[in-house]
Each structure stands twice: as C-alpha cells, then as structure tokens.
Amino acid sequence: MDLWFSEFHTPDVKHSIRVTRHLYSGRSDYQQIDVFDTPEFGRVLTLDGSVMLTERDEFIYDEMITHVPMAVHPNIRDVLVIGAGDGGVVKELTRYSQIRRIDLIEMDPQVIEVCRTYLPENASRLDDERVHIRFENALRSIRRSNGNYDLIIVDSTDPFGPGEGLFTREFYGNCFSALRPDGIMVNQQGSPFYRQDAEAMQRSHKRIYTTFPISRIYQAHIPTYAAGYWLFGFASKRYHPVDDLNAEKWSSLGLETRYYTPLLHVGSFYLPAFLENMLREVEQDNSQTVL
C-alpha cells in the first residue's frame, strides 16, 4: 500500500511523508485534528492538514522557543504559554525548578485530549502541579491579566486559520501589558522563504517591533515545516537576547539538550542577508496614524 500525507507549503510546492497508519481523525469546534504513524518522522500531529509536530523533529522547535528566553532572563518565575496544547513547550519549561507557575491557554480542549492519548511522551508534563490549563480564547484571557508574567511563549498555529488573532497588534499589545517590566515574549514567526509566509512574517514582525523596545528574530532548521527553515521572535522590555545571555549560568543548570546550546543561541540571531533586508524594510517603515 502506498499511503502518503501531503501538505501544500505553497500552491506549487508539496511536502509528503509516507504514512503507515492513520491513527486518529476528528473535527473539533475549531479545526481538523489528525494523528499519523510514519516511518521517517514517527508519530505526527496535524491541524487543518498542517504538520504541528513530529516525534522526530519536535525537539528543535520546543528547545529553541524555550531555552533562548530562559538563558537570557535571570529570574523567570511566572510563565504564560499560549497554544501549545501538544505539551512540548511545557515539557521543556518544567525542567526548570525556578519556575513556579505555568499558565497554559489553549482554545481547543480536543487537541490536548488527542495529544494525551496519542503523544503521551510529549504531553507527559501537562500534569505537573505548576501547570494550570485554561481553555479559552487567548485574546480574551490576556486582556484580563496585567503585569503578572516574566515570560510569554506564543506557540501558535499559522496566521491563516483559527490562530490568526495571535498575530495581531492587539494581541501583542495586550501581551506587553501582561508582562512585568523586564518581561520577555517569544513567538513562532513562521518561515521567511515562500512569499506568502514571508509577508505574514513581515507584518507580524512590524507589529511586535513597534510594540516592544527590543525585538529580534532568530532562526532554526526544522525539517517538517515550510522550507525546513523557521523563525522565532524575541521581544523584550529590558533584556537583549544576545548581550544579556548568561551562558555560564545556563550551563551550570546541567540541562541536557539535543539542539540548543549557548553557542548556537548566539549564532541563531545571525541572519542571512535577504532576511535582514526584509526585516529592515518593515522596521524602517514607521507609518502610524497621526493624531
């Protein structure tokens, strides 16, 4: 039998993974959820037909979105994670004993249910006593919290579906208010390679750049995402992602990682010229409503 999962990365580019078994298929109130077993990537979770995570390359994303801010901010205690129902980010965060509270806001309870059942390894730390899960619209809950968090991690789906609200200026603005005066927000910023993705990345970078005093982009190589090339946004009120990196302190924690290292941390902020140009284009465009 010749069974493949395919995802269009653009209307003219298709990425396919051979499937051995289609384990789960269901429609929640928000999206289509599927789980596959595959020979190359192990178990795969897709939402609305887009790969969210695979057992094989999940560590890259989860480590890069978590350890980068954790190695910069000297004292992260309260963390808000948005999206991330698969539990991968929480799994990394719970390795830090200094963290005393992790609020997880996921709009779709069914994603968590499916991950607990089919990706138990990934979801294993969702039951940690510091983790508080709330099922609601992230825009709504963030509006209501102010100044309580040291770190916000935005682990959203792409900007063309139910996650659209997490790429808006109103969302970033309310995140800014929800952070302490030295807080950091990290988000997945999509891929800069294909045009539609690049434009979405530019739009949201511009919104973050005009909201936070410090806003930088860093990159990682993630095979199952569009172009295998992924970006993260580091937005911060006080700490600089490279100048304030405390490599010794982070290393002294003795956390074992497979992708992240303090050296790579610095390197990931060095970007290719085409991407630097794209970012400069929106950073220099400071058109705002004149009152």
Partner: protein, 491 residues
C-alpha cells in the same frame, strides 16, 4: 403579541432564485443584453466575479418577469417578502434604500406639502424633499448630552408639531437611528393617523426587527403606512438591494408608478435574487440568527465596559419616551473619556489594527455586527480597543461634545437648491442660507441642508469634524472650502 407576524405563505420558496436556476439549465442562446453574454465577452470580469455569478446577470424576459411590471416570479417574490415582513405589499428595490426612501416620500407628499420629521434623518430623506418640493417641519430630537448623540423624538414634541401643522401630510420616523435608538413608534403612528396623516418609517437599520424576539417593534407591526428596509444591512443581501414595505392604506399600483419614475428598466437579477434568498433565510432562520447577534453584542458590551474608559451603551438608555426601545444588536462605544474622538479611534483601528468599523464621529464609534460575525473577530475588536487605550489614553480636555444644533429652516430644500446661488468661502458664509448639503459620511446625517441658515456654531462644528479626520461630503466644491448660498438670503 400582535407583532409576532406569522407567515401564511410557504417561506421555503424563493421564486426568483428558482427561476434563475431553471433558466441556467435551459442553456438559452442570448441575443439580448447584457452584452457580456454570460461573461464570455469579458473574461477578466468573469475570472474576477466567477462564472456562476456572471451567468445569472441577465435581462428581464418572460420566464424571469420584469421588475417594472411584475406578473410572475418577481410578483411571487414580492408577495413572499410582504408575507414575511407582515406588510400588505413589498417592493423589491435595486437602487439602495435611498430609492426606497425616495419612493416613500414621493408617494406621500408633493410640492408645498408639509412633512413632520426629526432633523437627524439620512440625507436620502432630505434629498427626496429636494425632488418633491415638500417642506420639512423639524421636531428636535432629544439629545443625550453625555454621549453627544441625538435620540428619538419625544411624544409630546411630535404631538405639538402635529397640532401646530395640522395640514402636514405625513410624519417620518427613524426606526431605529444608526445607534439603535427607537422612538415610541406605536404612539406616533396613532397620533399621525388620528390627525389624518401618514406615518412613514426609515427602517434602514431595522430589518432584523421583523425577525427577532425581544426586539423593538417594527414599522409594519406598529401599523405604519410605509417603511424603507435595508435588506443589505442587517438582512444579508447584496449591497444596493432593499425593500419598500407598505400597509393596507396605500395603493400598490400608485406606489409602483412612483417607483418607476426613477427606477432602472434593467434591474439586476443578482440584486433581486439576493433579496429573494435573503428573505427566505430570514423567514426560516432569522430568529436564531439575530438572537446570536444580540448575544455577541451583549458580550462585547460587557467586555468593552470592563476595559475602563470606554462606554459601550445599551438598554440602560431606555427612558420610556425619546429612547422608547434600544436595538441591542448595535455596538456603539463612547470614546471621549479616553481622550480620543470616535473618528480617531476609527482611524487607528483601521490603520494599525486592520479592523474596519462602520463609522466614528465626534464622541462615538459604531461597530456593525451581523449574521456574518464570529466570536474570534469580536475578541480582536475588544482587544484592539484595550490596546488603543493603553497606548493613546490622554486627557479629554479640549474634546468637543457633539451638540444638537437646532436648524433654522428659511425655505424648503427644493426652493433653496434651485434658487439663484453663488459660491462663497466657508468662513464668509455666516448668516447666509445654504443651498446644498454638508455632512460627515457615514453616518450621512446632514450638518447643513438646503434652505438652512448658516451659523458660526455650525461652521465651528464643521471645522472641528474636519480637523479630527471626518470625511466631509455634500457640497459641489469637493475640497469643501467654498459653499453654495442662496443669493439674497442673508438676514
């Protein structure tokens, strides 16, 4: 209750839509207009609008009836619409609600007749007076000073106008205003009828009143004689499609003659089928749909009021008279207390948050909610308002409140519009009689109408609205630096 209108016809039917579907199957060869011939002659247009759409952009013909003289499917569609809205007859309109308002006024008054109406009417009403030569008798609407908005008419003021102008032929009522405010329509209908006058209703913002529980009374249920209903607003049909409803006292044939004075002879089947399908949807599912819209608006009001600074007003405005009822599907927010004019919030929402709302004026914004809205977009709107407050909040000292300016009507709109006139710089026009319109669009309620005295208070208001970024429209001079005045009108 008497107003729960129970349709008697089979509202699952949509005769125009059905006829178009049949027509498509027949694959008739077109040697008639429109010249694009089912889109073949205009491939770019077809690619843009879709083949499905251009293939039903056809001309009137026997199987599809004719809007100017309906005898088959259009007539059936009109009767179904009348049945669904509880009217004696319903006319499908293809020239916007403007055409419905015009036909309503042209059917009821002629040159020199007096008509009683509030000043905060849409420009289409006063335009119709320019066309027919009737003379407006304005009832000052009540005003909410804190919000700076015009409310409905008080019963006592309508009664006085009727007493002082016993020869007036009609009373016109907004049901509701843009902000969702309703006068005591039943009482006004009764007063008008007792005085032998017609009651006409501009229901551009009240289509859903016919299909909701707990909604303000609709014009037909209140016994009004005619109503202009914007199906394309809350009814979900295509832009420019509308309905004119009439009660039992009006002659269907005469009203049709009036409509045909200005109506196209090539009415669009896209518009007519959209009316047909939307009417069916409203009749079958309207109650559920609008209950949901009402809940969303209520939710948004609570959330916005929780932000602080903003005031999203609702049912608490109801006072038994000039706010006899409030349409809770409307979402209006008073913004002056965060130090921003409504028009400024409107601009910021569009420029910085990619959110387009219906309008902003001096002290308020209005977001239009409808059957097409979803909770996730509402969350964006509320969050954007919270973020705007965080970024821009400032003292509201120096922000004007919108005052109702009591107009001095010197001559009828028609006389003023056609009078010998000249153009003068705006700042030199104090004391003159205006011969054209000036308004912010939207909401399109004239600041100055033809025949009204220009005062320095009005000019200050125009300058302030301009400085805050309102789009001014109306005058012949598009730059709105000059204004046409009636020669010899100065006091």
């Amino acid at each position: 209750m008497d107003r729960t209108n129970k349709p008697k016809l089979d509202q699952r039917r949509a005769p125009i839509y059905e006829a178009l579907e049949n027509f498509r199957q027949m694959r008739v060869v077109p040697f008639d207009v429109p010249g694009h011939k089912r889109g073949r002659g205009n491939p770019e247009l077809t690619a843009f609008l879709g083949e499905q759409c251009v293939s039903v952009d056809v001309n009137s013909m026997k199987p599809l009836d004719n809007l100017s003289h309906p005898i088959s499917v259009i007539r059936e569609a009109e009767m179904l619409a009348a049945d669904a809205f509880g009217a004696s007859y319903a006319f499908l309109m293809v020239g916007g609600t403007t055409s419905a308002v015009q036909s309503m006024l042209l059917s009821s008054c002629k040159r020199g007749d007096e008509i009683i109406l509030p000043r905060n009417v849409h420009r289409s009403v006063i335009n119709a007076l320019v066309l027919c030569g009737a003379v407006p008798v304005y009832v000052d609407p009540d005003v909410d000073r804190r919000l700076g908005i015009s409310l409905g008419m008080c019963r006592r003021d309508v009664a006085r106008a009727i007493r002082e102008h016993p020869n007036a032929v009609a009373v016109l009522v907004n049901n509701p205003t843009y902000y969702g405010i309703c006068s005591d329509l039943r009482a006004i209908v009764r007063m008008a009828h007792e005085a032998g006058m017609l009651c006409l209703v501009d229901e551009a913002h009240g289509t859903h009143f016919y299909f909701g529980d707990d909604m303000p009374v609709s014009a037909m249920a209140a016994g009004a004689d005619m109503s202009a209903v914007s199906m394309h607003k809350s009814g979900g049909s295509l832009t420019q499609s509308s309905l004119l409803l009439i009660g039992p006292q009006m002659s269907v044939g005469y009203v049709r003659q009036i409509i045909n004075l200005t109506q196209t002879t090539s009415a669009s089947y896209l518009l007519m089928s959209s009316l047909d399908i939307s009417r069916r949807n409203l009749a079958l599912r309207g109650r559920t749909v609008f209950a949901r819209v009402g809940e969303m608006a209520e939710y948004a009001r609570e959330e916005i009021n929780e932000i602080g600074g903003y005031y999203a007003f609702g049912k608490e405005l109801v006072n038994g008279d000039s706010v006899f009822a409030f349409d809770t599907t409307k979402l209006s927010v008073h913004t002056r207390d965060i130090g921003l004019a409504g028009i400024e919030v409107y601009d910021i929402l569009r420029d910085e948050y990619d959110i387009q709302i219906e309008f902003g004026e001096i002290g308020n914004i209005l977001a239009y909610l409808s059957m097409g809205d979803r909770p996730q977009e509402l969350e964006r709107l509320v969050s954007a308002l919270a973020d705007i407050r965080r970024r821009y909040q400032r003292s509201s000292i120096g922000l004007l409140s919108q005052e109702y300016i009591d107009p001095e009507v010197v001559m009828s709109p028609q006389d003023a519009f056609y009078a010998p006139k000249r153009s003068v710089p705006l700042e030199k026009s104090v004391g003159e009689v205006c011969s054209e319109f000036v308004m912010c669009y939207p909401p399109g309620i004239p600041i100055l109408a033809p025949g009204e005295r220009i005062t320095s208070q009005i000019l200050d208001y125009i300058e302030y609205a301009r400085s805050k970024g309102c789009s001014l429209t109306g005058p012949e001079d598009l730059a709105i630096e000059n204004i046409n005045i009636v020669i010899g009108g100065k006091k």
